[in-house]
Amino acid sequence: MLRRLLLDARAAMASPNRNARSAVVWGRLLGVAFLVCFVTGVYSHLLQDPLPGMRFPTRPVQLYQFTQGLHITAGIAIIPLLLAKLNAVMPALAQVPPVRGVLHLLERLSIAVLVASALVQVATGLVNTYQWYPWPFPFRQVHNALAYVIIGSIVLHVGVQLRIIARYWRARDSYDAEGRFVVDPSVGSELLPPTGREAHPTAGASAAAVPTVGPYPRGLTGRVLRWVDGPAAPASGAQEAAPDAAPTGDGPSADATDAGRASRPSTEATTGRRELVARRGFVAGVTAATVGVVALTAGQSNRLLEPLNVFGARQRHVGPNALPVNRTARAAGVLASATAADWTLTVVGPDVTRSFSRAELVALGTDTAELPISCVEGWSQMASWRGVRMRDLLAAVQADPASSLRITSLERSGGYRVTEMGPEYAADPTTLVALEVNGATLDLDHGFPARVIAPGRPGVLQTKWIGKIEVIR
């Protein structure tokens, strides 16, 4: 009963796009995309939670804007690629028998872990960029842990499937002269078209199959497939009359089980052409989806694609000071404290502690810096900042410019109320305690009266509404 069901499912899934070669092709692209996301993601994570003694590059100043824009863009590109890959390997879901032994069970479980983690990772990552968190777990910690689970699962998967990957790595080893997929049972793929040893001798594998034998499964599945493929007739003379025969380039699933046609004269060429068109059609579809979804969203982090930003979660130049906002002054609970007339910035050096009003900060001498604000959620924008250099401020309290700092915001609460800054940023001449942006006083939502801006750091670490800066070592 179960066996019958699985074989019926396999017959319905059979397609030129669901074989070991397509699994390798989409797997390669998906592997690269996941690796890009992993590396850029770990970089972003370490910037926020550095290991002891870790230092980071401050040039180019747009480094983080680039890596995190890439993280989000590659993550969005993963959506169509992951669907294409899952589509290509779908017959493995209905493999017969479902479990062949302990090792096979473990392997299938590891695939379940990979598929589940990848789907959850990509879906929650996407929705996180919309600042909506409808799940019962903390996003950042889970996103970080699942990243390792996914990369480990991919490495494990590549190890398990290495013989198949090597066998079908190159197109010329995968297709014969007519363009038909070459079945090589010796490498043990679960996706190879069903051979005669399986209950239903569907075509594709054995193009020369005797046409009079019913190639379709019995029952409903067979009837549906026959309706799909039309009256392709055991009587081989009838084909002439079928003008429908335009090669069916179709897609998410196509037509390897075209059993009736397999019996047609000049079968090899026809089958080969049909498979080729079906494959190209599928590649065209996934390419269109990948290019389309990236082009219509990446404008939030890429200047060139800005005019195409149809679906991005952010639009550049929208917001106070022509700059988007993540956390508003209201949300941070600083409406009163940040606008208080007696606001001062306290700077605690090793020996000297001083407090500065805004006027006293300006009196220290201001400088400008062109630095991007780059969010972990992927959006970013260049801005022109004006304020006091951090190193000048440190000199005012007789501290070494290359000091580690602890910066405290006026915020009442929040994970980034207190942040730390490494000496490479504190000493950098472009790191400012900013008072103005884009030629105007900082908006309250951008951190008035003063905020930190440093090169190559995530936006959450560019602390707004600062109240205190302490030298910690």
Binding site: P134, Q141, I150, V155, G285, A288
Partner: protein, 150 residues
């Protein structure tokens, strides 16, 4: 080959174990249960809803392929795939906006209208491709038969 496979399998298992360690050390146990339900839900969603749906759509396209030219079918199929992926990305965005923005610069657009416009354009492309394909096929019926029966 054998050595490479062993190395990859061992390395993969170690990295997975590291990920699991990171998970249990940074996420509280009751939250891990929440994650487990989502992981399980993802597998069920894929195996029970998504896969049969894709097989069904594929079979319909294959049925349509009997009477359509290859290029028409490729255009139709590309539009269907792109339209589906855009819907997958933008429908949660619409839901997120309906759920409430934290401030007006988050999700600044009217995504419902934009999605409808883009899907409408894709639909128009499909209709044009179908019409052109049918008209051409009627004008030159013998060509179709001869090319495909070679």
């Amino acid at each position: 080959m054998r050595a490479a496979r062993i190395v990859l399998v061992v390395l993969g298992v170690l990295v997975i174990a590291f990920g699991a360690t990171v998970l249990v050390t940074t996420v509280r146990p009751n939250r891990i249960w929440g994650l487990a339900t989502w992981l399980l839900g993802a597998v069920v969603l894929h195996d029970v809803v998504l896969s049969p749906f894709v097989v069904g759509v594929g079979l319909l396209l294959r049925r349509a392929g009997r009477s359509l030219r290859a290029w028409v079918l490729v255009v139709v199929q590309s539009a269907v795939v792109l339209g589906s992926v855009l819907a997958l990305v933008v429908v949660p965005e619409i839901a997120a906006k309906a759920h409430g923005q934290k401030n007006p610069t988050v999700l600044p657009f009217d995504y419902t209208t934009r999605l409808l416009v883009v899907e409408g354009v894709l639909l128009a492309v499909v209709v044009v491709a179908l019409v052109v394909g049918v008209v051409r096929a009627r004008r030159t019926p013998p060509l179709v038969a001869s090319t495909t029966n070679q």
